[in-house]
Symmetry: C2
Subunit: 324 residues, 2 copies
DNA sequence: TTGTATGCGTTATCAT
DNA sequence: ATGATAACGCATACAA
């Protein structure tokens, strides 16, 4: 691989001059610029971002830690985050933590070694102290670790409220929420809180089904939903995430319950699965693109030393389709 | 951020010694090792992979270019690729090309600047020459660019054959294939070839629907499927990809055609959507995990200067569920 | 307008 | 068993 030296040699100038035309800094004669440009073309020269990083003490890299990029919600986040970051000159180092704390710590360590300029966390399995101790630009997305760590989320409380109201408004008399493990202290817990509050205040009976700690092990969903309907055959309204909603709809079909006639289902996320299902899913839309942009802006803001909002809560929206 | 110098100073030794304990190279007295280790802990020292990269002329980075990581198939590939790469000490730089050739060229350029050790391409919109000219370890996944560029794919011909045979075996009399644009010269074209051959040889009437060039614009799918059934109301068997299958099933429901009774549907990929749909999708399973592992092995093999197979074609499997 | 010298953090080579 | 020094590729301060 040719270096700046080779270019300089070939163009008959010094590396300083080449560096100048490369960065358009200082005065360079038109002829020199041309010579250098030619040499670069001829050698197919590519400046080394590695050397630059070492010198500038910044890598233009942002670490992205997600539970699993194959999950529809996180996949879509990843996609938007990558695009936004790229538009600002940052590249994304992808990490799938699988919600495994060992892996997560390992990934964080790796990102530090690679001198990433910041981290976007869509996972969090470690103790708050470990994150605070990072002393590096960081933002959480779809999660809130601590008041001192900037976060970008959607309004889960409001989402829970909208969903519950909609189900009740459509005539449901017994609701169920099918959520992730409450032990994980994730944001969806807020959904559960407002779900309960609203159902209670309207005098509607309601139950909860939790997954175990391995939230993304879809294979457990079928059994859980079956048990739900076995234990509570009178449930006629379910609030859950988009992916889980798919399993709820499957179970209903299997049990001979029509959706939305017998059981109404409201999802959360409005990921692409929502419009793939049949009936098409009524769901709470998280503004994933905006969330992604804000998350990227929030890390980059910190990198630049600008003040950034500690908490960004974006509005959600009820998207009425066919399932409720 | 503390550097190796700070550690050396604090431990009362030179950087050479610190480097030694860091890499477990040469002889170090137990006491020195301890002193240095302590200093590292106290300073919370993290060695710079950037400096290492500059010296070693390798970054431990692999570029991954995909059309879009939010697509179920590519999301799953990305996930496995990242895991495999990480297990071998490589990190993934994520790029979404959106099948845009400008972006793809731009990304390739960026990856070269960052001195990635290799590239895994799940997209290809450029001319063969541009790829050949890269002169860097590269492998394509789910695509075949040129005989000289290593590729990892599933057996699309066999997949098309299995799907077509299954549909005919289940009694279909008129088949349709709903595929991406044939102009893109992607592998699915092979599916089309064997689909046609098998249908023809068994004397079964068959038609083709193509998407436009923007393969991942799902919003066009609905109209295309509707037109298919309008033009050919007698179609009773459809072969397509998993995501498109979701739209086919939706259309059938809308048109009052029962799946699988009136219309049988076979997908391709066996991505997570396949088991989310209702009826659960009968599909051709691509071994995504194995494909990912092979792709990673193939780039790393090249990086290490080992000989690698130019073509890896993995077997597919018909997974019979409910849609056909 | 261009060149010289220095340093970014690390490891390899060659001493001692 | 440990230290001094050069080199990786680049950009900058300072000279000319």
């Amino acid at each position: 691989m040719p270096t700046i030296k080779d270019v300089a040699l070939r163009a008959g100038v010094t590396v300083t001059t080449v560096s100048r035309v490369l960065n358009n800094r200082g005065y360079i004669s038109a002829m020199t610029r041309e010579k250098v440009g030619l040499a670069m073309k001829e050698l197919d020269y590519v400046p080394s971002e590695v050397a630059r990083s070492l010198l500038r003490q910044r890598s233009s890299l942002i670490g992205l830690i997600l539970p699993a990029v194959n999950h529809p919600f996180f996949g879509e986040l990843a996609m938007h985050i990558e695009r936004c970051a790229y538009e600002s000159g940052y590249k994304i180092l992808l990490c799938n933590s699988q919600l495994d704390s060992i892996k997560e710590r390992d990934y964080i360590d790796m990102l530090k070694r690679h001198k990433v300029d910041g981290i976007i966390m869509g996972s969090h399995t470690l103790d708050v102290h470990e994150y605070l101790h990072l002393s590096m630009p960081i933002v959480t997305i779809d999660r809130k670790i601590d008041g001192r760590i900037p976060s970008v989320t959607s309004d889960n409380r409001q989402g829970g409220l909208l969903a519950t109201r909609h189900l009740i408004g459509r005539g449901c008399r017994k609701l169920a929420m099918f959520g992730g493990s409450l032990q994980l202290e994730l944001l969806p817990n807020q959904r559960y809180t407002s779900f309960c509050e609203e159902a209670t205040s309207q005098g509607i009976d309601h139950v909860l089904v939790e997954t175990d700690l391995d939230v993304f092990d879809f294979s457990q969903y079928t059994a859980l939903v079956d048990k739900l309907f076995a234990d509570h055959p009178d449930v006629d309204g379910v609030f859950t995430s988009d992916v889980k909603a798919a399993y709820v709809i499957q179970a209903c079909r299997r049990l001979g319950k029509a959706v939305p006639e017998d059981v109404k289902v409201v999802g959360y996320d409005d990921s692409q699965v929502a419009s793939l299902l049949m009936p098409r899913l009524t769901t709470i839309r998280q503004p994933m693109e905006t969330m992604s942009r804000r998350a990227v802006e929030t890390v980059i803001g910190q990198i630049r030393g600008e003040p950034v909002p500690l908490e960004t809560v974006l509005p959600v929206e009820l998207v009425v389709r066919e399932s409720a």
